[in-house]
Symmetry: C2
Subunit: 350 residues, 2 copies
C-alpha cells in the first residue's frame, strides 16, 4: 500500500481486547468547534482553509501520547480517502466533501481526528474489544490537551456547541461494534434490537449511520448527548452491552448443543468457500467471514489467528482492493481480486 | 472392507479408458437361460437351488481369461449385496430377491455374472471409458466359453429365449454411462435426450432403470434386442455416442470461453465444499463431484488424480459407508461419515 494507509490494519482489528469474541471494537468520539469561527455550514471557503491550517498546526504541536500524521484530504487520492472510510477512520461524508479538510491519525490508528467534517473537530478513539473506559481515558486526554491550545465553542447552559443539535452538550458518541451471528441465526436479534431502542440506544450497521448490517455486525450507540454527563452516557451504554454479550454467548452454546455437527458444518463450509472461491462478492465474504469468526472464537477452527479473519473484513472492502492495484476495478474484477487475496493468505495456514 | 467388496473399486472407475473425460464406462450384458430348466418366474424352489449349484459349478470350471470368485447372495450380508449394487455389479432386483442366487466376479470387477436374476444367467462386462469393441470382445469370449458347457435356451426363429420378451433375440444390452455436466448447465440436455429417444435408444440415471439422473450422469442404452445382429446393435449405439461426446465438449469450451472466471469459481467452490464439509448429503456430493470431475478433465484442477474423484462416486454411496462401519447408519450419520471420508482423502492432496 502506501504511507497513508498502512499495510496492516488498526489495533482495533487485532482481536485482543476484552470480550473480543463478541465485541469487535469500541469507539468514542467527541464533536468540538472553535469559538472564533462560524460553523462549517456557514463558513466562507477562505475562512474554512484558514481554519484547516490553524487546526493542522495545533494538532501537530499537541503533546499526544504517540506521534500523529496529518493529511489534508484534498492532497490524497479518492481511493486513499475511501480506504480511510473503510477503516472507520473518517466518515463517508468527510470523504465525499469538498474543500480543505483533514485527518490526523495516530500510529496504530486507535486515534483519529477529523478536521472540518460536520464540526470543526471530531476526535475519535477506536479500540479492539469492549474497552469503554480505556477508550474514554485516551480520548479525554486528547481532548484536554487540545483544549489547552484551542478555545472551544462552549455554552455554560448547553455545554459544547455543535453544528447539529443532536450533538450539543457533551458532543459524545459511544459506539460498540458487536458481532452477533448466533442471535441472527436463532432469529432473536429483533427482540434484542427492540430492547436496545427502548433504552434509547441506536443500532446501526458495519459502516455506521445509514448502512445495512453486514456480516452480523451491529453498532450500538447512544442517542442522547445533552443533559447528561459524559460518565453517565458512557455508563448507560457500558451497563447494557454485557447483557447482549451474554445473550449471544448463550445462543452460541445452544446452537452447538442443539446440533453440533450442523453448526461445525456451517462454519467449515464457509471456510472452504473462502479458501477456494475464484470470485466472491462483498456480501458473501462478510457472511462467510462472520461464520468463520464465530468458528475461531468457539475453537471449532484452530488453524488461523483471529487477527487474520478480522483484517479480512477491512482488506476485502472495495477501496482497499483497488488501492492495491492503484486503479479503479469493476465489480467482477473486485470479486476476483477479493477471492485471490483471501485464498492466498489462507493458503499459508493449510 | 472385506473379501467380497475390495478396498479399491473396479477398473471401470480408473478413468483411463478412451474418451474418459465424458464417458465414465461402457457396459454390455447378455441374458441367457439354460434349456432344460423353466424360467425363474415358474421354477420351484428346489429346482432353483439345483440350478444355482449347477451354474456355480459351470462358472467355476469355465476357462475365463482371469480367475473369478463366486458368491451365493444368501450367504453374504445385505450390506455387502447393496455394495455390489452400488458398484453396478448386480441389479437392485437381484439384491432384494430371495432364494438361491449368486454372482461371479472377475478380479478387477470388469466381469460379473449374475445367476438366477431375471434370467438364469446375466453376463456383464463393465469397462472404463468408451470401449464398446473391447467390452464386446471380452463378453463374447465369456459367452462362448460358457456355451461350450451349458445348453442355452435358443430358438432358431427368435434367437436366445429370455424371461422378458424385451430381451429376446440377442439378449444384448449395451449401456454407455456419459458424464454431461456442460449439457446440463447449458440447458441443452433435453434436446439431446429427444434425439436419443428418436433413434430408439433409452436414457437412464446413474443406477439404471427407474433411477433419477444424478451427478450429471446418464446411461444411454439400446431398446431393441430382437431382429438385429449383436454387431448391428453395438454399431448403432457406438455410432451415436461420439456425437454426444462432441456436443458436450463444445459446450464445455463455450462455458469456459463465455466466462472462465465464473466457471473456475464454480468448480473450485465445489472442491472447497467437499474438502471442508462436516456433513454432506448424497445429492450434494454427486453435484459437487460432477463439477470437480469436469474441472479435473479440463485441467482447472490439477492437484488430484481423476481415479480418486471417480471412486468417490461409489465409495460415498450409503452401503459402502455402512459396510465400513459394519452396521446400519441413519441419514445424519451417513452424511457425517461421507463428509469425513471425502475430507480425509482430499487432505492428502493439499
Amino acid at each position: 500500500m502506501n504511507s497513508i494507509v498502512s499495510d496492516g490494519v488498526g489495533e482495533w482489528l487485532s482481536g485482543t481486547g476484552p470480550e473480543s469474541d463478541i465485541v469487535m471494537s469500541t469507539r468514542i468520539r467527541l464533536a468540538r468547534n472553535v469559538a472564533s469561527y462560524p460553523f462549517l455550514s456557514r463558513i466562507a471557503a477562505p475562512r474554512r482553509s484558514e481554519l484547516e491550517r490553524l487546526l493542522k498546526g495545533r494538532l501537530e504541536k499537541a503533546d499526544f501520547a504517540g506521534s500523529i500524521n496529518y493529511h489534508n484530504l484534498t492532497e490524497i487520492s479518492a481511493l486513499e480517502r475511501q480506504c480511510l472510510v473503510e477503516r472507520h477512520l473518517i466518515s463517508r461524508e468527510h470523504e465525499e466533501a469538498e474543500g480543505d479538510r483533514g485527518v490526523a491519525l495516530g500510529a496504530d490508528e486507535s486515534l483519529s481526528i477529523m478536521v472540518n467534517e460536520e464540526d470543526h473537530l471530531r476526535l475519535q478513539v477506536l479500540r479492539s474489544g469492549f474497552q469503554v473506559d480505556a477508550a474514554w481515558e485516551q480520548l479525554r486526554n486528547v481532548d484536554d490537551r487540545l483544549e489547552s491550545s484551542i478555545d472551544y465553542a462552549f455554552s455554560t447552559r448547553f455545554g459544547y456547541l455543535t453544528a447539529c443539535p443532536t450533538n450539543v452538550g457533551t458532543g459524545l458518541r459511544v459506539s460498540v461494534m458487536l458481532h452477533l451471528p448466533a442471535l441472527v441465526l436463532s432469529k432473536t436479534i429483533k427482540r434484542v434490537f427492540r430492547h436496545i431502542t427502548d433504552i434509547n440506544l441506536a443500532v446501526r450497521g458495519f459502516y455506521g449511520e445509514g448502512t445495512q448490517p453486514s456480516g452480523d455486525f451491529f453498532q450500538i450507540s447512544n442517542q442522547v448527548t445533552l443533559g447528561k454527563s459524559e460518565e453517565e452516557i458512557i455508563r448507560h451504554i457500558a451497563s447494557h452491552v454485557p447483557q447482549i454479550i451474554k445473550h449471544e454467548r448463550i445462543k452460541r452454546e445452544q446452537l452447538i448443543e442443539k446440533n453440533r455437527l450442523k453448526f461445525e458444518d456451517r462454519v467449515w463450509r464457509a471456510y472452504g468457500m473462502l479458501e477456494r472461491a475464484r470470485s466472491i462478492t462483498s456480501e458473501e465474504t462478510m457472511d462467510y467471514l462472520s461464520a468463520v469468526r464465530m468458528g475461531v472464537h468457539l475453537g471449532l477452527i484452530d488453524t488461523i489467528p483471529i487477527g487474520l479473519v478480522n483484517e479480512f473484513f477491512i482488506l476485502t472492502q472495495p477501496a482497499h482492493l483497488q488501492l492495491q492495484e492503484d486503479r479503479e476495478l469493476d465489480a467482477e474484477e473486485r470479486n476476483q481480486k477479493r477471492a485471490n487475496l483471501i485464498r492466498e493468505r489462507l493458503a499459508k495456514y493449510r
